[in-house]
Symmetry: C2
Subunit: 304 residues, 2 copies
């Protein structure tokens, strides 16, 4: 039994993924409104998981809704915590969990807090790990794991791999883990291009989607430079083009999110959205992800 604590977009997406893999889940959210209609949403998310993964339908895991936190975690073997990104709130939750369940791993979906910030709340910090999914978790394969405990780390890798995810483990605790640090670095330059008037929001997004984004969906950045180095690979690249890359780095922008830059971004995103609602854009993203994931299944493993 897996307890899912916090049932917004992340929690319900985890539930779709986990039940698609036959796990029973028990849901808890302090706001009852979050749970209204959630069973139907989980059925839809599970369908997307199966289309993307292409695996034959296993028996669905069961979905139960708990009325109290104690009911949710009492019998749990794994606890996936998706509370808001506030350390004090998560600390309080962990103390309540400890009072009723002393053994199940507590996996925090936190994107912006670190293990070191979260663990002091627990008398047994060895049961805590950060397991950050990429949104939406039922489609995006990445789960970023950190815990200093080697046994728990191995157990977590097995657990998320068993959900068809691609778990990666950090050697050190880092704010933003890996993926959000990369995303933040890229976005800084994306903002700079707009702020400097080199291109508008939509043009920058199109360049990313049809260029580096597409390429990074099948090959990593380091490996791409290996291929960019000619017959000598990355060693040659670094020897010949390392210095010019380093000069390029110093020429990248360091924009500030001033009111006028923010206005350019809001206006540009508005133009790019072209009247589509957030829901329509997210649904289109997920339809495209389902298709791309299904395609990658066939051609990806040898390229990654």
């Amino acid at each position: 039994m897996i307890a899912i604590l916090g049932c917004g977009l992340i929690g319900e997406s985890w539930a779709g993924l986990m039940t698609a893999h036959g796990h029973d889940v028990i849901l808890w959210d302090p706001a009852p409104a979050a749970l209204t209609g959630i069973e139907q949403r989980i059925v839809r998310l599970r369908g997307e998981v199966r289309t993307a993964m292409g695996h034959a339908a296993e028996a669905d895991g069961g979905v139960r809704i708990a009325t109290t936190l104690a009911e949710a975690v009492g019998d749990a073997d794994w606890i996936q915590e998706n509370a808001p990104e506030a350390a004090a709130l998560k600390h309080d939750l962990y103390r309540q969990i400890e009072a009723v369940n002393a053994r199940a791993p507590i996996a925090s979906s936190t994107s912006s807090l670190t293990w070191s910030e979260l663990s002091p709340a627990l008398s047994d910090p060895g049961r805590l790990l950060t397991a950050h999914p990429f949104n939406p978790p039922h489609l995006m394969p990445l789960v970023e794991i950190y815990t200093p405990d080697a046994d728990l780390r191995r157990r977590a890798v097995d657990f998320y791999a068993g959900l068809g995810r691609e778990p990666v483990t950090l050697r050190k605790d880092a704010v933003g883990h890996i993926a959000n640090r990369l995303a933040s670095a890229l976005w800084r330059e994306a903002v700079n291009l707009v702020a400097e008037g080199i291109a508008d929001v939509e043009t920058v997004d199109r360049a990313l989607v049809h260029g580096p984004g597409l390429r990074w969906s099948v090959i990593g950045a380091h490996m791409a430079y290996h291929l960019g180095g000619g017959p000598g690979g990355i060693e040659t690249y670094l020897r010949h083009l390392g210095p010019s890359q380093q000069r390029r780095w110093t020429s990248l922008g360091t924009p500030e999110l001033t009111p006028s830059v923010c206005a350019m971004l809001v206006e540009g995103v508005d133009a790019e959205a072209a009247g589509r609602s957030l829901e329509q854009i997210a649904a289109a993203r997920d339809r495209a992800l389902v298709r791309v994931l299904a395609a990658r299944r066939e051609g990806m493993n040898d390229a990654a």
Copy 2:
């Protein structure tokens, strides 16, 4: 007739793309060795274009090999220049072109030089544009265009769109155009993560491919933050999370490509390659790209 000047990986890839769309091409390279066996390679590349694009085979364009530059450009309506990235060399080439063809646009595939650096060689700079493809051009849709001439810009957008590409136009000349600036910004942090010992090369690449890279293959970075802002979209995101994003930016790494960092990268890429040759990795990348492109064709347009 399209003249392709410089027939390394970029030139032959352009030839595969252009002939798949029914254009006749004439190839020239100062090193005859580059042209050995090129017809067979173009046939293979054309096959990949058609699988990726999913369009019914048009009549193939013809392929001719020129023995002199004058023969290549004499009758050309469009000139795609893929010479090495050295301004003096390209300047010299442009002067030779001017002597035998006074009217066809000269589109430079340059990745690192700018229009402003290249145009002074021409007595008629108005015929020059930068048209930077993303490697490999026969599969990657992006072409980044800059010319200050609005007519030529429109003509170039039509030309590359007619090749099934996604042309984007810059408002200002910029070193690295858009995509390589974004890629460089991301790679800086990717190097930092390795240099700081947070994760190894392969882990960083896996996090990118299964996380942000995959997402950016269907939705841009600006639009992703629009969806990350909750019901208020990017306006809410900027208001509530702008300050923390700006703090994150200042905490990103500014690594130097010292000998020890370079050694970590070379060793890490070597481990990730796991014995596969550059050719095997590039072929696997291209197989995966063909599949992903075919999948995106169906689900993409509404998400981009």
